[in-house]
C-alpha cells in the first residue's frame, strides 16, 4: 500500500527556555517499514521530538529529513505524515466516514476512489459498519480505530502514534497492540510509536529508542535494551532490575562487595574500575534448602513475597543489599517472611554497565 521512506534526525534540539533543552541533540536513523518506539518517562523529550517530526514544533537546531529530503521548512499540511493523537482528535461534527475521508478530501481524491479507500481503511480496523456514526457514539477503542484509519487512508510516508492506547483499559490495550502489529505487517508502513509503557514498547517494536532528559540513551532491539542496556537508566526503566555497584578485577570478575565476586565473562574490562552489574530478577534462582556454611554470602533473608499469579516477586536482603527475584509460580517454595534460603544467579546473564 505504501512505499515507506526512511527518516533521519540530525543533532535535533528543541529549547523552550535558554539553557534548557527539552530535546538535546538527537541523532536517529529510522529504516523504511520499521516499527520504532520512543520510550521514556514524561518530560524526556519523546513527544516533543514527535511534534517536531510532525511539524507542530520548530526545532531550535538540527535537521529532519525524509528519504534525503530536508523537511524542516515544510509546513505540517505538506509533510504527508499520518498522526494518531493520544486523545484521538476526531472531528466531532463529522461522521466516521467523513473523518476518515478528510485527508482524501484535502488531496482532492476522486469521489469513487475516496469511497473505496474509506471502505478499505474502515474494514482494516474492523469498523466497516460504523461509517455513518458520529465519533461521540463510539467507544474509546472504536474512536482510536477511526483515528488510525484516518492516519493510514492516504498512504502516508510515515505514521506517528502519540501514546495512542494510553486512554484504553488493559484488555482493550492488549487487543489493540496485536491489531496495530497486524496492520503494520500488512501495510509495511514506517511507524513511530511514542509510549511511556515499557511492556508495550517491548511487545510491539522492531527497535526501541530510550529517551531520558532530552537525549536518546540507547537505540536497539527489545532484546538489546532489555538484556544489554547501555546505561543504568535504561536498565532500571525497562523491566525489573537488580543493579549492584562493583569493582572490576581480573578476567571479567566483578567484586560486588558483600555479595561477593561475579564472573561476568567480560574479559575486555580493565581491572580496578567502578561498574554497575545488572542482574534481572528472573535470572536468579532460589531454593528453600538452608545453604551450607561456606555459601554464606548467597544467603537471602525473605522480607516480602508478592503473588502475581503466574509468578512471585520475592523481595529480600543479602549482605545488606536489596535483592529482587522473580520466581515462576510452579517453582515457588513455601517461604514465610523472615525465612532464609539460598540463591544463585546465572553469572553469564549478568550485564556490566559503565566502565
Amino acid at each position: 500500500m505504501t512505499t515507506a521512506r526512511s527518516l533521519c534526525l540530525r543533532s535535533l534540539s528543541k529549547s523552550y527556555m535558554p539553557g534548557q533543552n527539552a530535546v538535546d541533540g538527537i541523532d536517529l536513523d529510522i529504516r523504511p517499514g520499521e516499527f520504532i518506539s520512543f520510550l521514556g518517562p514524561s518530560g524526556s523529550g519523546k513527544t516533543t521530538t514527535l511534534m517536531m517530526i510532525a511539524g507542530f514544533e520548530r526545532p531550535t537546531a538540527g535537521e529532519i529529513s525524509i528519504a534525503g529530503r530536508q523537511i524542516d521548512a515544510v509546513a505540517p499540511y505538506d509533510r504527508n505524515i499520518g498522526m494518531v493523537f493520544q486523545n484521538y482528535a476526531l472531528f466531532p461534527h463529522m461522521s466516521v466516514a467523513q473523518n476518515v475521508g478528510f485527508p482524501l478530501r484535502m488531496r482532492r481524491t476522486a469521489r469513487a476512489e475516496a469511497d473505496r479507500k474509506i471502505a478499505t481503511a474502515l474494514a482494516m480496523v474492523g469498523l466497516a459498519d460504523f461509517a455513518g456514526r458520529a465519533p461521540k457514539a463510539l467507544s474509546g477503542g472504536q474512536q482510536q480505530r477511526v483515528a488510525l484509519a484516518r492516519a493510514l487512508v492516504f498512504e502516508p510516508d510515515l505514521v506517528l502514534l502519540d501514546e495512542p492506547l494510553g486512554a484504553l483499559d488493559k484488555t482493550l490495550r492488549e487487543q489493540m497492540q496485536v491489531e496495530l502489529k497486524r496492520i503494520h505487517r500488512e501495510l509495511g508502513v514506517t511507524m513511530i510509536y511514542v509510549t511511556h509503557d515499557q511492556t508495550e514498547a517491548m511487545a510491539m517494536s522492531d527497535r526501541i529508542a530510550v529517551f531520558n532528559h532530552g537525549r536518546i540513551e540507547q537505540v536497539g532491539t527489545p532484546a538489546e535494551v532489555y538484556f544489554a542496556p547501555r546505561t543504568r537508566f535504561v536498565a532500571s526503566f525497562i523491566g525489573d532490575s537488580n543493579l549492584f555497584d562493583g569493582r572490576t578485577g581480573a578476567d571479567g570478575v566483578v567484586d560486588l562487595g558483600p555479595l561477593g565476586p561475579i564472573a561476568t565473562g567480560r574479559r575486555d574490562l580493565a581491572p580496578g574500575q567502578s561498574v554497575s552489574v545488572l542482574v534481572r530478577p528472573e535470572t536468579i534462582r532460589i531454593s528453600a534448602q538452608t545453604p551450607a556454611a561456606s555459601d554464606e554470602r548467597r544467603l537471602l533473608t525473605i522480607e516480602e513475597t508478592v503473588n502475581y499469579g503466574d509468578s512471585f516477586l520475592v523481595l529480600g536482603k543479602s549482605g545488606g543489599r536489596d535483592i529482587r527475584i522473580r520466581v515462576p509460580s510452579i517453582d515457588m517454595p513455601d517461604l514465610p517472611r523472615g525465612a532464609q534460603c539460598a540463591f544463585d544467579w546465572t553469572a553469564s546473564r549478568a550485564h556490566v554497565i559503565g566502565a
Binding site: 507542530f56 499520518g82 498522526m83 493523537f85 482528535a89 466531532p92 461534527h93 488531496r107 474509506i118 492516519a151
Partner: protein, 266 residues
C-alpha cells in the same frame, strides 16, 4: 441534592423580585384602561395594534432592529478576532488589552453615554444610527469576547493539528474544523450582542436622536410625557425578544444534542 428550607425561601424571593414585574407588565399590556393601571379592568389587543401601526412606535422598533443587527455584525467582526488573539497568542500588554476590551462592562453606562455625547458631538455622530451602533458595539464586544474566549479555552487545538496533519491549510482548517465546532458559541455571542443593543437605554437616550430613536428610548419618552399604556405592550415585546433569544439558545442546544452528523460520506 436537597435544598434547605432557607435556600428555598431565598430562591423564591429572588424569582419573585426578578420575575414579578413581568406578571404586572404583561397583563397590563392587554389592558383596556386608558392609563397604566393594575389590575386591568378588561382585556383587549388595542395597545399592540397601536405599537404596530403608530409611526411613533414602529419607527423606533425598526431602528432598534437595525441598530441591533449593526451592533451584532460590528461586535462580531471586532470581538471574534480579539478573542482569538487573547486566547491563543502571547503578546506584549496582553493583560492590559484584555482589561481595555472588557472595560465597558465595568464603566457605568451613564459615564460612557456622557463621553459619547461630547466626543461624537464633535465628530458629528450624535443623533445618527452609525453613532449608536458604534457606542453599542463597545458595550457588546466584551460580551462577545467573554463568550468566545471561554469557548476557545475549552477548544482542543489538537483537532486543528490533526486537520493540518491530514493536509488542511490554515484557512481550510478554520472553515471546515474550527468554525463548525465553534458555531454554537458564535451564535450565542451574536445573539447576546444583539440583545445587549436591543434593550440598551441610557446611551440610546443620550445619543440616538429623533430619527434614530430606539424602542427603549421611545418608551422612556412616552412614559415621561403621557404614561401611555402602549409602553406596557412595547415592554412585553422587548421581554418576548429577550426570552426568544434565550429560548433559541436552549432549543439550539437541544437540537445539537439530538442530531447526528449529516451525510455519511464526504
Amino acid at each position: 441534592m436537597t435544598m434547605s428550607r432557607s435556600t428555598l425561601v431565598l430562591a423564591v424571593l429572588v424569582v419573585v423580585l426578578l420575575a414579578g414585574p413581568m406578571f404586572i407588565v404583561v397583563p397590563m399590556s392587554f389592558s383596556t384602561a386608558p392609563s397604566l393601571e393594575f389590575p386591568p379592568p378588561g382585556y383587549w389587543l388595542g395597545y399592540y395594534r397601536r405599537v404596530f401601526s403608530d409611526p411613533n412606535w414602529t419607527g423606533p422598533i425598526i431602528n432598534s432592529f437595525l441598530i441591533g443587527l449593526g451592533t451584532m455584525v460590528l461586535s462580531m467582526l471586532l470581538g471574534v478576532p480579539a478573542s482569538f488573539a487573547l486566547a491563543r497568542h502571547q503578546f506584549r500588554l496582553r493583560a492590559v488589552f484584555r482589561i481595555i476590551v472588557l472595560m465597558p462592562l465595568i464603566v457605568p453606562h451613564i459615564v460612557m453615554a456622557l463621553g459619547y455625547y461630547t466626543y461624537f458631538g464633535s465628530l458629528g455622530l450624535v443623533q445618527s444610527m452609525p453613532g449608536v451602533i458604534l457606542a453599542h458595539a463597545c458595550l457588546s464586544i466584551p460580551v462577545v469576547v467573554l463568550t468566545v474566549t471561554s469557548a476557545l479555552a475549552n477548544f482542543d487545538r489538537r483537532v486543528e493539528q490533526a486537520a493540518a496533519n491530514l493536509g488542511a491549510r490554515p484557512l481550510t482548517t478554520f472553515r471546515l474544523i474550527t468554525f463548525p465546532i465553534l458555531r454554537p458559541a458564535f451564535l450565542v455571542a451574536a445573539l447576546f450582542a444583539f440583545i445587549h443593543s436591543f434593550d440598551e437605554t441610557v446611551i440610546a437616550i443620550f445619543i440616538s436622536g429623533r430619527d434614530s430613536a430606539t424602542l427603549p428610548r421611545q418608551m422612556y419618552n412616552s412614559f415621561q410625557m403621557e404614561a401611555d399604556p402602549a409602553i406596557s405592550a412595547a415592554s412585553s415585546l422587548l421581554l418576548a425578544a429577550v426570552l426568544a433569544v434565550i429560548g433559541a439558545r436552549w432549543a439550539a442546544a437541544l437540537v445539537k444534542a439530538r442530531s447526528k452528523p449529516i451525510g455519511a460520506s464526504p
